[in-house]
């Protein structure tokens, strides 16, 4: 899963798949996309033969707030709390973006990856959503912080998920997804696209279980079991006895990727996010092409 596919090889994306990724957007800000997540994005782009575009957003709101005299920057590294001016913050942002660009260049070279790096200044959500319009997949990183677990998808990050039309892959800072792929299917109309996404992430259609499907409703489970038994030998169906048992699910996905519909009821639950934060997996949120576009912002609410 980790080895990149040379660009000369055809990517493993069958023409019948509804999930074709040619352009990946990795969005950066001061709080997102650490080196581990960046490596995961580079790996995925290399494997899919996709182009990787990196976007670093200089948050104007953040810059404007530093104009206020009572604003202090609390250091995460034990330095004294001190006022911070816009030029000072700009310098920090510039240093951060330069570092990110260097890291991306270092990751791209051995993978023979097509990549670009862009810096935009504006509102984070607006810039990312606008940039994501031209991409087949948006990759966001978790927020790292010096205490406890990384704050996966804090409100500022989660607020990006809704407006974006395409799939969104949320990667952890220190753990690119290399492990098992699990899919949660809650409705029959989601099944095809979610399974395509799972296979895409798993990187193969060969025999053997590449994805485990968790199905909430028993009839649907039976139906899917019959269907996938005919068409997708690589898929194993397993019933999620109780959607509330998501803790067990997250534990099972440890080190891998969980594929969810962007309309999943799981995302509505605050406790799910807390359990998810404790887990060790990436999250791929997939929209059904028509429904989700019509449905608009279906997920990622606190």
């Amino acid at each position: 899963m980790t080895a990149g596919v040379p660009m000369t090889e055809a990517p493993e994306q069958g023409s019948s798949s509804s999930f074709v990724i040619r352009r990946i957007l990795a969005a950066f800000g001061p709080a997102t996309l650490s080196s581990g997540a960046l490596e995961g994005a580079a790996d995925l782009a290399a494997r899919l033969g996709a182009e990787l575009e990196a976007l670093f957003v200089e948050d104007t709101t953040l810059l404007q707030w530093t104009e206020l005299p009572f604003i202090r920057q609390v250091s995460l590294h034990g330095l004294p709390t001190a006022p911070i001016s816009p030029p000072e913050l700009e310098l920090q942002l510039r240093a951060l973006s330069a570092d990110a660009q260097n890291r991306l260049a270092a990751l791209a070279a051995p993978r023979r990856l097509r990549w670009s790096f862009r810096i935009a200044r504006g509102q984070v959500r607006g810039e990312v959503v606008a940039a994501a319009m031209g991409a087949d997949l948006l990759v966001l990183g978790s927020t790292s912080r010096p205490f406890g677990r990384e704050a996966l998808f804090d409100p500022s990050v989660r607020s990006l998920i809704g407006p974006v039309r395409g799939p969104v892959l949320l990667l952890r800072a220190a753990q690119p997804p290399h492990g098992p792929v699990h899919v949660v299917i809650e409705a029959a109309d989601q099944a095809g696209r979610l399974l395509d996404a799972a296979v895409m992430i798993a990187g193969t259609r060969a025999a053997g279980p590449v994805a485990t499907v968790w199905v909430a409703e028993a009839p649907l489970a039976r139906k899917l079991a019959e269907e996938v038994a005919r068409a997708r030998s690589a898929v194993r169906v397993q019933r999620l006895s109780d959607p509330a048992a998501h803790e067990a699910l997250i534990s099972a996905v440890a080190g891998g990727t969980l594929v969810l519909s962007a309309r999943s009821s799981l995302l509505e639950r605050q406790t799910w996010w807390q359990d998810f934060a404790r887990g060790r997996c990436a999250l791929l949120l997939v929209r059904s092409v028509v429904t989700d576009l019509q449905g608009g912002d279906a997920g990622a609410r606190d």
Binding site: G29, P30, A31, D59, T61, L62, Q64, W65, T66, E67, L68, F70, I71, R72, Q73, V74, S75, L76, H77, G78, L79, T81, I84, L89, Q92, L93, A95, L96, T143, R145, P146, F147, G148, R149, A151, P155, S156, S159, D302
Partner: protein, 805 residues
């Protein structure tokens, strides 16, 4: 006293009769089981070794080649074999003071066992400790601690976030920290909207932000504390796990070494260290020892301090050690601390401590060459310091001299109890006695080796066994008994004494080896007299190029030597030259000239600083002798000058003083001296002739010159009577003497000598106090009296015009 007759041929060479031996060759003889003629040295050695008090170290003095090293080693090894095998010594890490490695003493052989046991222990720990850390129990307990710590932080941060949310404040990340900003409808309030808020509301928001900022700072401050607590808990957990893995293994070692408290103490410290540093085993695989004993950097970092540096291993020893250190540099004596370069710096640890000869010889015997240790910088002082302190303290010389500045060690000193035997020349011993006050305090036992031994039937037989031993030891042919006799005769010649045998074993061994070579060339089964003589001749031939050159110059008249006729104030003295190991004699013309003077005999050699002090002393004795004998009651008014003609180098010794006296007497008496005779001998103020050295070489030197010009039967050499016993002349000399072609006279007094040289009586004072008319002494006295009278007349004429006080 009338002049003596020439010495008979049999007095010129003391033969060793092979018939005295009851063997045909040395193959029949048992090897010599002791030494010849070194009773004094042997007794001193045994005394020095036997006395166990401190500072009774030994100095074996004597010339090189007399077997000092061999005898010392033989006696030491005999003694050492009866003594217990000393302890092994190890250096181990000092866990309390790492720069001061600890020295551990273990019974012989157990040092290696201990090192092996520690190696095995470490091998066990390499698997046991990781296994303990990979156990389910450890993993769960560790995870619980980490989870607790993370939850603590999360709870604090979530609480803060809840508080912020309740106050409609958001936490925003910056590249290096966080700032707080107000929120409206889940969106961060843009600053321009904030500015449009009423002042009171702005103030409230600002207050809320400041309050939350304080809480955030408090949480951030607390995090390192929680993390430290978590680390402490993890460390304690690691220690608990390590203890369970380590204790049982170390307890087994404790059982094996329960009789050695110092080892137990070290094991306790090692166990504590393993447990205290247990966290080094957490979070990584354990290093494996490198192939072929090589040490990887990680392995070295973690485990080197537990190793055992076996400094001295007596596991395979029998008895006390006898060590000879032939390169007694400081580091070879007291050991050294080596360094390795790491990242451009020189570093070391106790594993790099290397033993010295003192460590290896501790509780035994150390043999050193005195000259070599004195030539090594600082070695002599270091040896004395160690012997005085009675402990071996390893200090880097470079550190002592401040040549390098790096982290070094101060290894715990090791108690020292040994005997040191220095082997050196006599001169070194006497110089050290005179100049080094410490020497006498530390080296109280001189072991004085004899150069020679009396030549008796008994010692001759022992000598034959010595030759048998040499032949057997060096794989040579046995010596036939006539070969033995010839070597014995040569041994007398080497010491220039017919009554002695040289104990210079190296010279004897060389001769036997070389004779063996010629025996092989000659196809002999045994080494015969002819082979030995051939070896002697070959030795001389290899070395006598310069002698031949001088003889040639004499024959050609370049160097003026007369061997016939008679001359006034001129005679042939004899000198010896030593070039390398070869000594030869040759004649030298000595002349004397007389004039009026103030009683002064001038030694021209001395005046030009060619003559040494002994030579000058001899000339001054002449002056005393002349004054006392011939001018006791009147001034000695001569001025005599003496010179070694055609001598262009230093002259030392008084062996020509008799010759100089004869030249003076001849010049004073105006009686010619026979140039067919040469003279050697020193004279005292009473006119007695005293012994000199190298009498054989001197006689042979003059003989060779005379033979080259044709022996007349008149030629010969006058030697001191006291040297008669030293004669071991060449066979050809003896042969010509027996034919009456050459003569050797041994005289006791100068009068005997002058009579032989002039053919006139020397003369003794009669009852009237006068010498007989026409005798040499009468002529000399008359001449001196005449000179005194002339001087007196000169003196009265000079005084005529002067006033006296």
């Amino acid at each position: 006293m009338s002049p003596p007759d020439p010495l008979p041929p049999e007095a010129l060479y003391r033969r060793c009769d092979p018939a005295q031996f009851d063997f045909e060759s040395t193959a029949e003889l048992a090897p010599l089981d002791g030494v010849i003629g070194q009773d004094r040295a042997l007794a001193a050695l045994r005394f020095g070794i036997g006395i166990r008090h401190a500072n009774y170290h030994l100095f074996a003095l004597g010339p090189p080649g007399v077997g000092r090293h061999a005898l010392v080693r033989q006696v030491l090894e005999e003694r050492a074999a009866t003594e217990p095998v000393p302890s092994d010594w190890c250096y181990v890490h000092n866990f309390a003071e790492p720069h001061r490695p600890r020295a551990l003493s273990l019974p012989a052989g157990r040092g290696k066992d201990f090192r092996g046991a520690i190696r095995e222990l470490l091998d066990e720990l390499r698997s046991a400790i990781p296994a303990a850390f990979e156990s389910e129990e450890f993993r769960i307990r560790k995870q619980a601690i980490e989870e607790t710590a993370k939850k603590r932080q999360e709870d604090a941060f979530n609480e803060l976030q809840e508080a912020a949310r309740a106050r409609q404040i958001a936490l925003l990340r910056t590249p290096v920290g966080m700032i707080l900003a107000p929120v409206r409808n889940d969106e961060v309030l843009p600053p321009d909207q904030f500015r449009r808020l009423p002042a009171d509301e702005q103030k409230q928001i600002q207050t809320r932000i400041e309050e939350l900022q304080g809480r955030l700072e408090a949480v951030l401050r607390q995090i390192p504390v929680w993390e430290r607590e978590a680390r402490t808990q993890l460390r304690q957990l690691a220690q608990d796990v390590t203890t369970s893995a380590v204790r049982q293994l170390i307890d087994e070692l404790r059982g094996a070494y329960r009789d050695l408290p110092s080892v137990l103490e070290h094991l306790d410290a090692m166990e504590r260290d393993l447990i205290e540093t247990a966290d080094q085993f957490v979070g990584g695989s354990m290093p494996q020892p490198g192939e072929g004993g090589a040490v990887t950097a990680r392995d070295a970092d973690r485990f080197r301090r537990y190793w055992v540096n076996l400094l001295v291993d007596h596991g395979s020893g029998h008895g006390a050690p006898v060590v000879y250190e032939d390169h007694p540099a400081v580091q070879n004596l007291v050991g050294r601390i080596e360094y390795v370069a790491q990242l451009g710096a020189l570093v070391t640890d106790f594993n790099l401590i290397k033993s010295g000869a003192l460590h290896r010889a501790n509780s035994g015997y150390l043999v050193l060459d005195a000259r070599r240790i004195l030539l090594q910088p600082f070695a002599w002082e270091e040896l004395k310091r160690v012997l005085r302190a009675r402990e071996i303290r390893i200090e880097s010389l470079a550190q002592t001299l401040s040549l390098i500045s790096t982290v070094t060690l101060e290894p715990e000193p090791i108690p020292l109890d040994l005997k040191v035997v220095l082997v050196g020349d006599r001169l070194l011993y006497y110089l050290l006695c005179a100049l080094d006050p410490d020497f006498g305090e530390l080296f109280k036992v001189p072991v004085d080796f004899a150069d020679d031994v009396g030549r008796t039937p008994d010692t001759s037989r022992q000598f034959a066994r010595l030759l048998a031993t040499i032949a057997a030891r060096d794989g040579l042919r046995p010596l036939a008994r006539d070969g033995v006799a010839q070597v014995i005769e040569r041994a007398s010649r080497v010491v220039d004494d017919a009554t002695k045998l040289s104990l210079h074993e190296r010279t004897i061994s060389d001769l036997v080896r070389e004779a063996d070579y010629f025996a092989a060339e000659n196809g002999h089964e045994t080494i015969t007299r002819a082979d030995v003589q051939q070896a002697v001749d070959a030795q001389i031939h290899r070395a006598d190029r310069l002698r031949e050159r001088i003889y040639e110059e004499i024959r050609r008249g370049t160097i003026l030597i007369d061997t016939a006729a008679a001359k006034v104030g001129q005679l042939n003295g004899l000198v010896v030259s030593t070039l390398g190991n070869f000594t030869f004699g040759r004649p030298v013309r000595i002349t004397a000239r007389i004039r009026l003077g103030r009683g002064q005999v001038v030694d021209i050699e001395r005046e030009v600083e060619f003559g040494g002090p002994i030579h000058a002393k001899g000339v001054l004795i002449l002056q005393g002798l002349l004054g006392a004998r011939f001018a006791a009651d009147r001034p000695l008014t001569l001025h005599a000058s003496l010179v070694f003609e055609q001598s262009y180098g230093p002259v030392e010794g008084d062996s020509a003083s008799a010759a100089e006296l004869y030249a003076l007497l001849s010049a004073l008496a105006e009686v010619p001296i026979k140039q067919s005779l040469a003279v050697t001998g020193s004279v005292n103020q009473h006119g007695q002739i005293q012994a000199i050295g190298a009498v054989n070489e001197k006689i042979e030197g003059f003989f060779d010159i005379c033979r080259a010009g044709g022996l007349t039967g008149e030629q010969g050499v006058i030697i001191p009577r006291a040297n008669a016993d030293h004669l071991m002349l060449r066979e050809d000399v003896v042969e010509e003497v027996s034919k009456g072609k050459f003569k050797i006279y041994a005289v006791e007094t100068a009068d005997q000598g002058i009579e032989l040289l002039t053919g006139r009586p020397a003369g003794e004072r009669g009852p009237d106090g006068l010498y007989p008319e026409g005798s040499i002494n009468q002529l000399v006295e008359a001449r001196l009296a005449g000179m005194a009278e002339i001087v007196r007349k000169f003196g009265s004429r000079d005084d005529g015009g002067r006033s006296h006080d």
